[in-house]
């Protein structure tokens, strides 16, 4: 029984952490599913969200979650510009060009963070980020619960947005068949730019909650990109439910990996799981 009781905490934490990973991966999944490009800079753009929260907290003294009111539109604009001026152009050259340009953006971002905020690890420390909850043998930080709740809210919103609004329908049309969507009078370039912009607004949310949950450095983007890629591939690209399930799977892999093999190995377990997923189920659980 004691083993089960010991396991309860990492299992619950893993599931809750899965919410955070799902939010981080949602933007990637959206861009992957609609524009069919893999945004290697996604992790770094999420970290941009974290740094935005950090600046809001330390310089302006605004609560990071509240700062999203400015952070989301800001990243939305940056995302729109990146897709419109860089990635849409690269997309027309070739698939490789998109990948290489995104890689270039990632390098530029990482080193800009390093220049501005130094390589030291930062975190968003607020009164509630150090609180924790206990229920019987289970102890979990409050932030993990927030991560999970935010994930559910964001996913419901995204789902309804894609289903009910005109832009959402245009995005889905462009995702299903670019050419036909174009013939039906949808400006696909513009739709792509909006898709990327929405993905970046999601990255802003992901960034702030990431900063509340973990500490981050200028190069953290890479680790979260890899996990997000694993989540997206496992869940099947473009599927919101799949992304959530993938997120939970990776959250569990990380906390259980940490429980069994020590904290140092927990990321390694998640990374190896990415490779295993790629090798065994490259189409994902919910993939078409």
């Amino acid at each position: 029984m004691t083993v089960l009781a010991d396991l309860a905490t990492p299992v619950v934490m893993g599931i809750l952490l899965g919410g955070l990973y799902a939010v981080i991966a949602l933007g990637l999944s959206l861009v992957f599913g609609v524009v069919k490009e893999i945004n290697i800079a996604h992790g770094d753009l999420v970290i941009l969200g974290s740094y935005f929260g950090y600046v809001a907290l330390t310089v302006l003294g605004i609560d990071p979650i509240l700062s999203l009111l400015i952070g989301m539109p800001l990243l939305f604009g940056i995302g729109f510009a990146i897709q419109k001026y860089l990635l849409n152009r690269a997309f027309k050259i070739s698939m490789d060009a998109t990948l290489i340009v995104a890689f270039g953006i990632s390098i530029i971002l990482q080193n800009t963070y390093q220049l501005i905020w130094t390589p030291y690890a930062r975190g968003l420390t607020t009164p509630y980020s150090v609180e924790s909850l206990s229920a019987g043998p289970i102890h979990i930080p409050l932030v993990y619960l927030l991560d999970f709740l935010v994930a559910i809210v964001v996913m419901v919103f995204l789902h309804e947005f894609l289903k009910r609004t005109y832009l959402g329908r245009a995005i889905r049309a462009a995702a299903q068949d670019r050419k036909t969507a174009h013939l039906m009078g949808i400006n696909t370039d513009r739709v792509y730019a909006f898709t990327f912009a929405i993905a970046m607004a999601l990255a802003a949310i992901a960034g702030v909650f990431l900063g509340l949950t973990f500490s981050f450095t200028p190069v953290s983007g890479m680790s979260f990109l890899i996990i997000a890629l694993g989540v997206v591939v496992l869940g099947g690209m473009g599927s919101i439910v799949g992304t959530f399930v993938g997120g939970v799977a990776f959250g569990l892999a990380q906390t259980l990996g940490g429980y069994f093999f020590g904290v140092a190995a927990q990321m390694l377990v998640a990374y190896i799981m990415v490779l295993v997923v790629l090798a065994l189920i490259p189409r994902g659980i919910f993939g078409r």
């Binding site: 893999i38 290697i40 860089l86 152009r89 690269a90 050259i93 070739s94 698939m95 490789d96 060009a97 990948l99 290489i100 340009v101 890689f103 270039g104 953006i105 990632s106 390098i107 530029i108 990482q110 080193n111 800009t112 390093q114 220049l115 890479m222 680790s223 990109l225 890899i226 890629l229 591939v233 140092a264 190995a265 990321m267 390694l268 990374y271 190896i272 990415v274 490779l275 295993v276 790629l278 090798a279 490259p282």
Partner: protein, 329 residues
């Protein structure tokens, strides 16, 4: 598609280039003897190691349609093989070869999961590898006390007898060998098979090209040669630690050299590597913005001249007429 445009470019066989190449190589080999400044030798050393890696990346990205994001995995693995080998009294020259073999074996091993993936999935698979290896080498300490970098850093032992000139010659040798290898591969059956796969792999498969084997072959060759170049680099550096060995910087250098010069052109990496080495020393004083500038150049070249210098040059009329002059006998 960039690929289609590449195909239209005429590729005359430059038989005459072989002799000048050997002559240049001999002159470069004599450099240390005739007393060329040491700093020049360093530039050239870096040029040849980077050139080798860029050539191999070009073989994969430009000719096989495999955007590999994991050269750092091969370089780091080979470097570690060399370093750890010297702790077990393996002579350094065997260590370099062992490094190449370990990198190639690793490539063969991971090809089974990653080759089931096409295009973008292959890129994702290879992106993860250096990160995994960095973790492994940070946690795993194969020998005694680590020396450098907090994690598992090691010095390359017993290389006092290896002079800078010797590492220079090694780099020169592998650089020239990689040029010849590229020429040989591209003019062999393997080269045409790879070009067929790159342009359309289902068509290639239906024409009897064994897609898996050819990709595997070029991937393993690239890993082997990249590994050897990496081991030579660490022989020169004298120590290795996980963070820089599996760093994304390797990919930046290699990708930049290939993209600037022209992905999918034979001369591209040569031209690109010259520029990259030049940039490296030009920007050395501004270390903190060096990578930002390199990133901007990468994005700029890719968007404005996706075929790179050689690719763009080939399409100009002057270059073609010069080429005609050169190849006329």
């Amino acid at each position: 598609m960039v690929v289609r445009r590449k195909m239209k470019v005429t590729m005359p066989r430059l038989r005459g280039v072989l002799t000048p190449l050997i002559a240049v190589a001999v002159v470069l080999a004599l450099f240390p003897i005739i007393g060329v400044p040491r700093i020049w030798l360093l530039y050239l050393f870096l040029f040849f190691t980077y050139l080798t890696m860029a050539n191999m990346w070009n073989l994969l990205a430009g000719y096989s349609g495999l955007i590999s994001l994991c050269p750092a995995a091969f370089i780091g693995l080979a470097g570690y093989t060399l370093a750890i080998g010297t702790w077990f009294d393996l002579p350094w020259y065997l260590g370099i070869i062992a490094g190449g073999i370990v990198a190639a074996a690793f490539a063969a091993l991971i090809s089974f999961p990653v080759f089931r993936l096409k295009g973008i999935y292959f890129a994702i698979g290879t992106l993860v590898l250096p990160e995994v290896l960095r973790f492994v080498f940070t946690i795993w300490a194969p020998i005694g006390e680590p020396v450098y970098g907090g994690g598992a850093g090691y010095t390359v032992k017993g290389i006092a007898e290896v002079s800078g000139v010797q590492t220079y010659w090694l780099a020169l040798a592998i650089g020239v060998a990689s040029i010849f290898l590229m020429r040989y591969i591209l003019r062999s059956k393997l080269g045409s098979g790879l070009a067929a796969i790159r342009d359309n792999d289902s068509t290639a498969a239906s024409c009897g090209v064994n897609v898996f084997n050819l990709k595997l072959f070029s991937f393993v060759i690239a890993a082997f040669i990249t590994g050897i170049a990496g081991a030579i680099f660490y022989l020169y550096q004298g120590y290795i630690e996980p963070v820089s060995a599996f760093s994304v910087r390797w990919l930046v250098i290699i990708m930049l050299a290939t993209v600037i010069g022209g992905e999918g052109t034979e001369e591209g990496p040569v031209v690109g590597t010259i520029i990259v080495v030049f940039l490296y020393f030009l920007l050395a004083r501004y270390a903190e913005i060096s990578l930002i500038i390199q990133g901007v150049i990468l994005v700029g070249i890719m968007l404005l001249a996706p075929q790179g210098i050689m690719g763009s040059l080939r399409r100009t009329r002057i270059y073609r007429s010069l080429l005609q002059l050169a190849t006329r006998r």
